[in-house]
Each structure stands twice: as C-alpha cells, then as structure tokens.
Amino acid sequence: MKSKIFGVLQRVGRSFMLPIALLPVAGLLLGIGSSFTNATTLETYHLTNIIYEGGILYTILDIMAKTGSAVFDNLALLFAMGVAIGMAKKEKEVAALSGAIAFLIMNTAISALITANGGVESMAANSTTSVLGITTLQMGVFGGIIVGLGVAALHNRFYKIELPQVLSFFGGTRFVPIISSIVYLIVGIVMYFVWPVIQGWIASLGDLVLASGYAGTWIYGIIERALIPFGLHHVFYMPFWQTEVGGAMMIDGTLVQGAQNIFFAELASKSTTQFSVSATRFMSGKFPFMIFGLPAAALAMYHTARPEKKKVVGGLLLSAALTAMLTGITEPIEFTFLFVSPLMYGIHCVLAGLSYMLMHIFNVGVGMTFSGGLIDLTLFGILQGNAKTNWIWIVIVGLVYAVVYYLIFSLMIKHFNYKTPGREADDEETKLYTRKDVDARKAASSGTASSGDNVSALILQGLGGKANLSDIDACATRLRITVKDPALVQDSLLKQSGASGVIHKGNGVQIIYGPQVSVVKSRFEDYLDSPDSNNPAAVVDSAPAPETKADAPAAPAAKPIVLGAHMTGKILPLSEVEDEVFSAGILGEGVAIEPTEGKLYAPCDGTIDNVTDTHHAVSMTSAEGCEILLHVGIDTVKLGGKFFNVHVKDGQAVVRGDLLLSFDMKGIREAGYKLTTPMIVCNTDEYASVTPIAQGNTKPGKNILEIQ
C-alpha cells in the first residue's frame, strides 16, 4: 500500500515536469521584459532615453513581459493539461484535450452557480478570481491538478471503451472528452459548495506557515532537500509556490496567491519597491548552496580523488558543478555523494534548510523560475538592484557556504574514507563514472546518435525485458519506470548504461542520468519500438559497454563496429603493405594508412591494452570487444623508441579521435624506415568479415573499416 502511494505520488510529480519545464522560458521573458520597463530600473541604469513608453524597444519589452506573464497567469490550465498528459498511459493527446475541456467546464459551472447565488459580492472576500475570462473560485494551481488527475483517471479507464453499435462513433478515445465534460460539470457544482471550506483550511495552513517564522523556513528547506532522492520535491514545494499555502497578497489591486506568483506579480508591477520576503523565503535559500556550496563540495571531491583518477573525475565533477551553478539542477552532484554517504546528504539537507532561513533573516527577496542558478540570480536578483532584493547577502552567505561545504566534505571524505568518484577500488563503480564521462564527451564532440541502441539494450535488459515494463516516463534528471516484477531489475546493468544511481520503491524504479535523461528516454522508446528490443540480451551479453558505432544485423560472435581513420593520409589495402606479416594477414585483417601527418589517433572508443616499450605500436580493445593493433611504420621497432612520443598509458580509457602517439615523420624517413601504418583487427576470426569501406585520402573522424 505504502509503495503504491509512493508510485502514484511519483507519477504525479513527474507529470508536473511538462508545465514546469516551460517556466524558465516564461520567466526569462517576464524577467527581461519587466526589468527594463520598470521606471526605477530604467532610471538607475540611465536608459530613459532609449527605452520609454511608446518607443519600439519599450513595446517589445512590454510584449515579452506580458507574454511571460500569460504563462504564469494560466498555469492552472497548463497543469490541467500537463498532468492529464503525464498521468495518461496511452493516447496522451486525447487526455490533453479532455483536460482543457474539463477545466473550462468545471470553472464555468462554478461561475454559473456564483451568478445564480448573488454574484461575487455575496461570496467571501478574495475567494473568487477570473480564469480565462471566467469568474470562478480562487483554486490556484490546485484547480488544474484536480482536473488533470481526474481526467487522467477517466481516460485510463475509458479510452478503450466499446459502446453499442448505434453509438459506436462515440466509442474509444472519443468517449473520453465526453465523459470528462459530464463528470467535471458535476465536479464544478460540488466544488462550489466544497471548495470554500477547503479554502478556509488552506488559508489557515498558510497562516500557520507564515507564523512559523524563521524556524518554519528552515524546516521547509530541510524537507525540500530531503525529498529530492525520492523525486517527491515537486509535489512538496508546488503548493507553496503556487497556492495560498505559500501566502496571499494584493498586488496592483489583484489578489495573488502562492510564493512564486507573488514574486512574479511584483516583478511585473511597476510600483514594486521591495520584493516580499514572506514569499521569496521559499525560494531564495536555493542560491547560496547551489551556486556556491555544492560546487565547493565538488571541488572537495576532486581534491580527494586519487591522483591517477583526477583527470577523468575532474571532467565529471566540473560539468556537474557548472550545471548546478548555472541552472540550479543539482542532482548530478547530489547523487554522486548521496549513494556513498547518506550521512553527508543529511548534513547537506540541514545546511540547505539553514540557507533558506538565513535568506529569510537577511531579507533576501530573489525569486526564481525553476531553480536557484546564476541565470535566475542575475535576472531576478542582480538586475533588480540590491535595494529591492538584498541579493548581495546571497554572495556573502554563499562564500561562507563554499568554505563550509569544502571543509565538511574534505574532512568527512578523508575521515570516513568515503568512496566518492575517483576513490573507489578498481571495480565496476569506477567504470561507471568513467563511462558516463566518456559518454558525455563523446556526445559533445561527435553529436552522433548512434550510441543509443546499446544503452537502451542495457536499460531494457536491466529492467528485466520488454514484458516486465508497465510505464515509462522521465523528469528533469531521471528515467522513471514502473515494472511488473521488481525482482527482475538488475541494478548493475542499469549502472553500466551510464546511470549514476538507481532507486527502488515497490514497482517503481528511478534511474538517475542527469539532465540528458530526455534523450535517454526518447532513444529508449524508439528502441522499444524496434524489433531489436525483443532480444536485448544478444547485445548486452557480448558487449558489456554501451558504446557502439553501427547498427547490427544479427551479429555473429562479436559485436559489429565501424572504425574511424587512425591518421590523416592515404588509405592503402593491407595487401600493399611492404611487410608480409601484415600483407599476408598473419596478424589479422585490416587496412593501412600512408600518413601525411605525424599523429596516431584512436579509431574508436575503448581501452588501451599496451603501448610497446619501443613506442611505435599501440594495442587497444574497443568498447565492443574488437582487438585492434595500430603499428606505426614498417620495422620501426628497431628505432627503439626514437622519434616517438606517447600520449596514453596502458589501461587508459580513450574515445574515438583521442591522440595516442605523435612521431617525427622526417626523422623516421631519414633513418630509412617506411611510415605505412596498418590497423589490424587481431581477433579477425571472431567476425564474419573485416572490410575497408573507404579509399583515397582520409582523416580522423571518417569511417574506414567495417567489421561484422
């Protein structure tokens, strides 16, 4: 029962993500637009000559501000549709349409009852509002969520309904908007009587929160952070940000409810002199630990990593730290230590709560669209001026937080010998971070989408196969899956796919990938639609690593791969290499390049097995298990290493295009040796064919050898 509730709450939380993802954009429009149409700001920055009412720039900025505002004003409708989409299992577009209709119908029913009973004047003060031009009860974003959840429930129940022959036109998905309209007509009538009571409760809850003062803010902060690992934080903070639980205020004659709404209404208002801290207390606290604290923690993890791992770990931590600083998406950092030390995460929660409280105490009035990164701090803090926001305290507290986080993390990691990234023993977990790093680098450098299949195959295998899946979704950083039998889930496979962690609750599985999760999800869904997904084990068993370069027709013994050029130069068939050990294929099949540049590059992702003592040859194994020998020159072993420089070491992970060796072409030629460089597949007999697929001049990045 408990895990079922968790599962439902999780799905509600993730269904919030679609409307929430729009907020940063709306916030940018509103932030820039209203900042530069605000009289005080314009005077402060001496812009009154360029931007003035009636001028082109002013009008453009005004449009930005008003369109941004439109999103926040109609958030309830967006939630009605977004939650319906998120919670619907199939035919989601029908759920969206039904959500919109049900939302209109419910509010119109309420509106009609208000009119019939004496109009707005007869209602309690501030209990009504105008939604899409309909005078209705002030329900805030709750109104939308009630519609979204209910419509999704109706949808999941009825979208396959079969009606009697005469009515069959109205069957199936067409029935969903119909039944939703009827049900929400009734819900509207019920709400007219019930909601004022609930309004009373919410108002007293809001009063309680308001009266809780600094301690309340602290507790709010701790709870918000502590819910992150469960993915329930959106469900928790949303009422504070969007409903009266987070306060209510009259701004320019309109009643505004919810902390975030209050902040943005004040932002849009021309008359704001200082932002209300009673609202921003639920937001500002994020800035110090997201921009300063967590990146300092990442630095501490970097400094405590083993020296030989620092290069790899540095890349991972740097990108995670930058993500937190700029956008306020903190999960990539938080999950790196959450799993190795829940205690450290607990301390982080307490400090985060304290940050909220300190911002409250120092009257910091900086709001946010989504989370507390530098972008939001700039727009909603610095640009608004210190007089309105006291943003300078974010920097002051933040700097202290940086020191505190650095010290606590360094000391705890060393004292308890926590296995944070780069400190693990040489087991699978080390690969996990390396692989993720490699994946990220590869995605950044090549931008190719071909690595998806193996990742998806690993995920599917790790989840126990296609038949075990019941529902797939994703939020900002994790893939959220509902499975039929949790016992079939294999965490180790999921982690191999690049996940930084896996969380189980009943039938719910959350696989944490970081912000790239939406890509992982869509590839995974594409993969599920392909026939390959019926047998993911074929891929997974023969290739433990997720990288692959080519789509596979049924693979023989080993996984197919396409190798890139290992040099710049002219392609030669192996048979023309002037050394029979290569030309006769004794070492295996392959291809050679006559180089025009003294550099040897990795032809694929993989691991360096061996660089010969004489530095002229490198052997490496690709991520798919292809054993590759790169041999620079003919008979160059006799040079004993002269003219060669090595850039990698044994056991190092490389990605396609990494520099392996550089060499002095002139020196080698003058010493009397040829530079023809074969690339040999040493385990040729494990494949059906090794075929050169290019001719003439080539360079690293071009594909030259196909192995099947």
Partner: protein
C-alpha cells in the same frame, strides 16, 4: 602437460611479426599453449594476449603445452623459438 623455458635472443622480443608467426604456428597445433612471463600468463593462440606480455630480449618465458599431441607440439615449438626468437 609439457613445459619448457626459453630465453629470448631476438633483438625486438616477441613483437608483432614474431608474435604473428607464433600465433599462427600455435593455431596449427592440436594442443593448447600458454606463455608465462614474470607471473603473467597468456594463451599463445591469442595475438593480443601474447603481445600484451611485452616480452623483450633477455626475458625468460615459460611455455606450457597441453593436449593430445603435446610431445610433438612441444618439440616443434622449441624448434620454432630457436629459429625465430
């Protein structure tokens, strides 16, 4: 099972060319052959494994032959090493 030791005399050790010759020689035999150097061992029918041992001039390696024709195979291999390495 037959074992023997051999000290490499060839200037370049078991590098690409001799390794390739060795592996094709071993594959022609009916027995399985293992090469051991300083605690690390490798199957002599796997080119990659052989080269990974990094055998250079002066190294002493231990060769183990196991299988139906191990007596003749060991003799043939010994002759191969003398001639090529």
């Amino acid at each position: 099972m037959k074992t023997f030791e051999y000290t490499i005399k060839d200037e370049v050790g078991i590098h690409a060319r001799p390794a390739g010759l060795l592996v094709s020689k071993v594959k022609a035999l009916g027995s399985s052959v293992t090469i051991e150097k300083g605690g690390k061992s490798a199957s002599a029918s796997k080119l990659f494994a052989v080269m990974g041992l990094g055998v250079v001039k002066g190294d002493t390696i231990k060769i183990t032959v196991e299988g139906g024709d191990e007596d003749t195979a060991a003799t043939e291999l010994q002759a191969f090493f003398e001639a090529n390495l």
